[in-house]
Subunit: 351 residues, 2 copies
DNA sequence: CACCATAAAGCAAACGATTGCGCACGCGGT
DNA sequence: ACCGCGTGCGCAATCGTTTGCTTTATGGTG
């Protein structure tokens, strides 16, 4: 039913090879023939069968996206659409399509990757691997498919990756609170398996140390990576004999949960607590109060992963292991009390 | 480099056809041979080349997802991840993969569809078509690819579709406010091109009429489909000589913008204004106050679209035009004042 | 012992493109 | 008149599967 290159060839009175070469702008085809074929092409509204093309070319101009196994929870965080937007946009710009790994119900992630790669449907994969010891990771190193990891620090693996400097980001966020005079700073993190939790916490500890503040394990809580988790984390911190005066949440969604908990107990932000989040999700700007947060440029994360991957596919013979760091910057809003310099009374809050 | 069916055949001492038939569980292969081949299959960790398969089978077990052209704005609304989650989950369950149309930079949506379909990479498409006269729509009717539309009411086209009964939902939301005693009810909608805006507004008008309340065009505003739009819409309504006592926002995100506007001007929800949103996004439950909203079951929308499409691909000879309606239900929280029956004083509020 | 079902597995032709190689033709140089 | 070469195009193999048809082996029957 659909028209093939052969149909076009017949109609144009040439061989399929010639049509193919016209499509490829091969200079060995005379301008006249080329023109005639092009007319027929338009006339028949021909579009090449990409499946057949992929088969003979041995590449599909398609990128595979592998989402973490805890996919449902992941979908709920605004991180996901934003990174997908970055990936999708730059893939489009570079002429690549996107393939989402979802099929193969019974298979685990490793088998899914195997299948996606061996089935030749994708030229490379982007992995959103957020947990510390993801079995996918070992596996992607063995197989030799071009790959880029999002959310994993360079040096942690033999695979190219892109990430923020989360330790540094945690450091900077904490330092900001220290400079505002806070001494007891709580840390609400996601699951301790999450790399970003670990890294940001490390930065937090480092900053404390540099600021000569004792690290108190009581002030660190790790929760489910949802608003609800931030809520319960904050409740725990508020139940402490000596409460923190400031909170670092390793994700904006957690921060919102924390703010809700504080609000329910009658506290006010930032008067009673300073709060700093991570990610700068759209909501952060419009929350009440607007949330001070570490902008980690999620979109750029997706964008960078895509360009790195395509570069790898197109230019690298083997597989590059080079990595990239996306800078972060602290967006100071009202939730930490530093918005208006005149109300920096926070440092005098009772502990 | 990668192993093919031929490699397996050689190692197992059979012909490629036999291996293929083993893969297909063809009963004409003896159990002994079958077993032997299966061993080799595992041993070599063979995975079929799906590209080659698709070519000969003329189907790819892949679904194409076509997002609206205003893709960036769309990504920001929590609707998107949720519908994608529904699609992705049920596609996975049914053994289908997902293909995102992003490539072909210069092409418009119609050409993108054409290419996706003719390139044979997908067996069918799901279209998120939210605008009233989408050129894609006319086109998808001409081409004969299996397709399902999300966000378009049945009868509006010759293509299968799935949607909420948005008119009815608008009616129900409005009726709820009328029953609470409100007489002046504002409506903050998205762009007037959006079908859901139109439908929900129609339901709103109908309910007003049934409730013997005059429809006042001044109370209807249509804004950008973002939080900011809700904000400016609310500001307009608050500037009216006789302000509304209740607001219907055609999307939760708009509702949040409206709440922010009200808050900035010193008003309180629900004491000063009742607000009802649409979608029941995760945030609605945890907002302050929790938002009364019409749950339209977005996940089911994506799920239903997928099963309908796959059913069409697998069973229907031509293309079905059957449609499906996903029910809605009003989630009553605090923002409309009806949470606690004792504070239904709203009807006595000054206008 | 010839004959023929029947079962099991192989042969080869697709699917729709790409591409190395070769052929025909025309033209300029010797 | 012949050789050589560049140009323009077609032939046919190939990519990795699937599948209709054929072949081979086997065992039962007349």
């Amino acid at each position: 039913m659909p028209i093939s290159i052969k149909d076009v060839a017949v109609k144009a009175g040439v061989s399929p090879s010639t049509v193919s070469r016209v499509l490829a702008n091969n200079p060995r085809i005379s301008p006249q023939t080329s023109e005639r074929v092009r007319m027929v092409l338009k006339e028949m509204n021909y579009h090449p069968n990409e499946i057949a093309r992929s088969l003979v070319r041995q590449r599909s101009r398609t990128l595979g996206l592998i989402l973490p196994n805890a996919i449902d929870q992941f979908f709920l965080n605004p991180f996901f659409p934003e990174v997908l937007r970055g990936i999708s946009q730059s893939a489009r710009k570079l002429g690549y399509d996107l393939f989402l790994s979802t099929a193969s119900q019974g298979l685990n992630d490793v088998e899914r990757l195997d299948q996606m790669v061996q089935s030749k449907r994708v030229d490379g994969v982007i992995l959103l691997t957020v947990k510390l010891d993801d079995p996918l990771l070992k596996h992607v190193q063995d197989t030799h498919v071009p790959a880029v990891l999002i959310g994993r620090s360079p040096g942690q693996s033999m695979v190219a990756s892109i990430n923020n400097d989360n330790k540094r980001a945690g450091y900077d966020a904490t330092m900001h609170l220290l400079r505002l005079g806070h001494q007891r700073i709580g840390f609400i993190g996601g699951s301790p398996e999450l790399i970003l939790t670990i890294d940001r916490l490390a930065g937090y500890a480092q900053a404390l140390s540099d600021g000569n503040v004792r690290f108190d394990p009581q002030l660190v809580t790790s929760e489910e990576f949802l608003e609800e988790g931030g809520y319960t984390g904050m409740m725990k911190l508020l139940a402490l004999p000596t409460r923190p005066s400031a909170i670092i949440a390793s994700d904006d969604v957690l921060a919102f949960g924390a703010m809700r908990a504080a609000g329910e107990l009658g506290y006010h932000i930032p008067q009673d607590f300073a709060i700093v989040g991570f990610n700068d999700i759209p909501l952060a700007k419009i929350a009440n109060p607007p949330l001070t947060t570490m902008n980690v440029h999620i979109f750029e994360l997706g964008e960078g992963a895509t360009t790195m991957l395509i570069d790898q596919i197109a230019n690298r013979p083997g597989r590059s292991t080079e990595s990239q760091i996306v800078p972060h910057d602290l967006i100071i809003r009202r939730s930490c009390g530093a918005w208006n310099p005149t109300n920096n009374l926070l440092s005098h809050l009772p502990q």
